[in-house]
């Protein structure tokens, strides 16, 4: 049974990722928690999520535990006689104060994460992201202080996913794979290529309705709104292909406009950028235009 085998492998991969604390890219079957992410900032939401979850679990155990004890001990069927008290000032002060203290700690952690997220200064590269119904456009604006001209492209759902996702296509979503990884609805014809180890500033807007640009491994999403330019940043630490989706309802094909970010080393990126710029530059008049070879 191949599907069974794949499923077991996927569960094993998830378990390994959970145990080893390795950053995993892209959703895994049976994944239970938020990804740790691959950027300098993406650990902030991950840790905050874990701390908040831990706090909630502890409070939950205490409160639901007290309820469970009450439901066992104070049953009429066990002869419990109702007491008359309706008030306990000490207790009420305690259970108002302690939550406030817990909230102060959570607020402190969250404020730190928020302040670092809001600081887009010192970026070495700018990419403009524009949402359209139902595709993304990426324009490279600036890299290490130099303006980039005419490097931009549309990025839309890959043909195989698009064929498979049609109503009544009869095609199996499990068969949509790239390098053994299922990429159904999470693959595009042309991904956004960015370098690792560079603080990238994303400026995000939209051309028609509101969209939201979300790659879980980058640790955030931000809305793409017509008439407004939002800014966010990411410094990706490890090369890889990171997949996400539009996260704001934007019409009938909202579920079919994935985001794919391909993070490569700096030299690979610079090479790629140079090729793209060469392709975009007007051909010299004297020589015959040589078609640029692209990988």
């Amino acid at each position: 049974m191949t599907t069974g085998g794949i499923r077991i492998k996927a569960w094993a991969a998830t378990a390994c990722a959970l145990l080893c604390g390795v950053a995993w890219a892209n959703p895994k079957p049976g994944q239970l928690n938020m990804p740790r992410g691959v950027t300098e900032w993406s650990e902030r939401p991950y840790l905050l999520n874990n701390v908040a979850l831990g706090v909630c679990v502890v409070i939950g155990v205490l409160v639901f535990g007290a309820m469970a004890i009450a439901m066992v001990r104070f049953r009429k069927s066990r002869g419990a006689v109702a007491e008359k008290w309706t008030h306990n000032t000490t207790l009420e002060i305690v259970w108002t104060t302690i939550p406030v203290l817990i909230l102060v700690v959570l607020a402190y952690l969250a404020t730190g994460g928020l302040t670092t997220f809001a600081d887009t200064t010192g970026s070495q590269m700018t990419v403009k992201v524009t949402g359209y119904q139902w595709k993304w456009r990426y324009d490279y604006v600036e890299y290490r202080g130099k303006a980039i001209d005419k490097v931009g492209f549309m990025s839309r759902l890959d043909a195989q996913s698009d064929e498979t996702r049609q109503l009544g296509s009869g095609l199996d979503p499990h068969a949509v794979q790239v390098d053994g990884e299922n990429t159904y609805l999470l693959n595009v014809d042309e991904p956004l290529v960015v370098p690792v180890g560079v603080k990238i500033r994303f400026v995000i807007t939209a051309g028609d309705v509101i969209h939201s640009w979300w790659v879980p491994d980058l640790g955030w999403k931000i809305d793409a709104i017509p008439g407004i330019v939002n800014a966010a940043w990411a410094t990706i630490k490890t090369p890889g292909v990171y997949r996400g989706q539009c996260a704001e309802l934007c019409g009938q094909d909202h579920g079919f406009m994935p985001v794919v970010v391909k993070a490569v080393t700096r030299s690979e990126f610079e090479q790629w950028l140079a090729q793209r710029q060469a392709r975009a530059a007007p051909a010299p008049a004297a020589t015959a235009p040589a078609p640029a070879k692209q990988g």
Partner: protein
């Protein structure tokens, strides 16, 4: 005595309900009949909205599109929300309020009976209008229940939705005025404000929220209408407007709105738990004060629905702190319910089971709410299935569980007969198991990166979606048991209910016969503090 004086004047009211069906139900000004109408409408809407949810869960049963086109899927998510919020939950609370508030405060009827009739009868027309769009060219609203522009402006049914929302809003405002007027003017002598049942208190506060925010929603959707049909540019960036402005206005309505759907639920639970614990509620005044604080805070937290729109840092911080503060009064309420149970003499009839499940599952929804308040984490949670799980925990296992608890609690008072305790418990255990199978895995889906409002998904999300769908179908099917229990109780049950249906029940509603006669408290009752649920509240 006042008894003799009022007796003559009210002589012509002493006859029972009108005989003719039309005269009794369509022309009714009786708070009990109008309450019944609201509750029946709510039950119908619950099943219509539920059937939309079944379509959603069926399409999400496995990856790939098998049943419906994406646009129709979006119509289903949009109408599921609108029907459940405006058709099921809100009318259910208005119905419970109509039936019970006069009985609980010793009033003969609502203060404005004719307006009561009008506020009910607007609703069926509003819903026919809204749902008729499904059968019109261009289809129904498909931009989400929040109707965010510019997307909602692309829909062909916008004018229908806006008019339906206006009708519902007028109905809600009139209902709220009626409730405030009734509570402030028609309390029997001796029913001091701080002796009122908590349910009455929560409805009083909710009614003020309704009056404050329904006009804001009306303004927002009217601006959508003029943007689409009259060339204005309130939300059109190309004309100098701002799409985010709509979201601010909408959520200034929307956040109080979600508390409109939970505060009366708090009230219901605060009546039911003391009854079955046979012990007065712990911290009555703290409960009332907590509800008032939550209502106040609801006006200053709206932008926590908009953390991903790119708010300024200061705004993010303000709305995060304000939102986190809500955990304090909400925590007080949960602690007080547990303390009411502690030291009681509990029995677990069906209403109590639902109330206990409410406290646990609503608290779980509160926990995810606290997590969502933390902005950096919300950048991940926002618009994912984690949010879907969160608000279904607070709205289904919160508001709807409380409504069901209230229905079981008062059904014998309404009909004069006992419902089947066995089938009530079958309904409860099925619901409480399957609702968790339905919604708990959605937390995992959201954390793993599945956005909400999508008709199809990557195979990585397949396992939990299938589990969730199975839970959804069985939870939906379990509600048919509820229908059966109600029909049985109203038409077939032979077991007579006592006037004081539950051993530990306190309050004026249990001093009238079961079933409650068509007219009650035509003469204000003499109030003994020990009869009241909260007559001796000192703290």
């Amino acid at each position: 005595m006042a008894h003799a004086a009022t007796h003559d004047q009210h002589d012509d009211h002493h006859h029972g309900a009108p005989k003719g069906f039309f005269a009794r139900w369509v022309m009714s000004t009786n708070h009990k009949d109008i309450g019944t109408l609201y509750l029946v409408l709510s039950l119908i809407a619950f099943f219509i909205g539920g059937s939309f949810a079944m379509v959603i869960r069926a399409e999400l049963f496995k990856p790939g599109l098998q049943l419906v086109q994406p646009y129709f899927f979006n119509e289903m998510t949009t109408l599921h929300a609108l029907v459940m919020i405006f058709g099921a939950v809100m009318p259910a609370f208005v119905g419970l309020g109509n039936w019970m508030i006069p009985l609980m405060i010793g009033a003969p009827d609502m203060a404005l009976p004719r307006m009561n009739n009008l506020s009910f009868w607007l609703l069926p027309f509003a819903f026919v209008l809204l749902l008729s769009t499904l059968f019109l060219p261009g289809g129904g609203p498909a931009g989400g229940w929040t109707l965010y522009p510019p997307l909602s402006l692309q829909g062909q049914s916008l004018a229908y939705s806006v008019f339906a929302i206006h009708l519902m809003g007028i109905s809600s405002i009139m209902g709220a005025i009626n409730i405030i007027a009734t509570i402030l003017n028609l309390r029997a002598p001796g029913m001091d404000l701080l002796k009122m049942p908590v349910f009455v208190w929560t409805w009083l506060i909710t009614a003020f929220l309704l009056i404050a925010v329904m006009p804001v929603l009306a303004g927002a959707v009217t601006m959508l209408l003029t943007d689409k049909y009259f060339g204005t540019s309130f939300f059109n960036a190309a004309g100098g407007g701002d799409p985010v402005l709509y979201q601010h206005i909408f959520w200034f309505f929307g956040h109080p709105e979600v508390y409109i759907m939970i505060l009366p639920a708090f009230g219901l639970i605060s009546e039911i738990i003391p009854t079955f614990a046979r012990k007065p509620i712990f911290g009555y005044k703290a409960m009332v004060f907590a509800v008032a604080s939550i209502a106040f805070l609801s006006f200053i937290v709206w932008a926590h629905h908009m953390f991903a729109v790119g708010l300024p840092l200061g705004a993010d911080i303000f709305f995060m702190y304000a939102t986190m503060l809500i955990a304090v009064p909400t925590g007080v309420k949960v602690f007080n319910w547990v303390s009411t149970m502690w030291g009681g003499s509990m029995s677990f009839e069906t209403p109590m089971l639902w109330a206990v499940a409410f406290v646990i599952l609503f608290t779980i929804g509160g926990f995810s709410g606290l997590m969502l308040a933390l902005v950096p984490a919300d950048f991940q949670y926002h618009d994912s299935y984690f949010v879907v799980a969160h608000f279904h925990y607070v709205l289904v296992t919160g508001a709807i569980f409380a409504i069901i608890a209230g229905v079981y609690y008062w059904l014998p008072k309404w009909t004069g007969r006992m419902y089947s305790e066995f089938w009530g418990k079958v309904h409860f255990w099925n619901s409480v198991v399957w609702v968790n199978v339905l919604f708990f895995p959605q937390h995992f889906l959201g954390l793993a990166g599945m956005p909400r409002r999508i008709p199809d998904y990557n195979v990585a999300f397949a396992n939990f979606n299938m589990v969730s769908s199975i839970g959804g179908f069985l939870f939906g099917a379990s509600q048919l048991i509820f229908l059966g229990v109600i029909v049985h109780c109203v038409f077939f049950s032979r077991k007579q209910a006592l006037d004081r249906v539950w051993e530990g029940a306190r309050g004026l509603e249990w001093t009238v016969p079961s079933p409650a006669p068509h007219h009650t408290f035509e003469v204000p009752p003499l109030i003994h503090d020990e009869d009241l649920a909260h007559g001796h509240a000192v703290d």
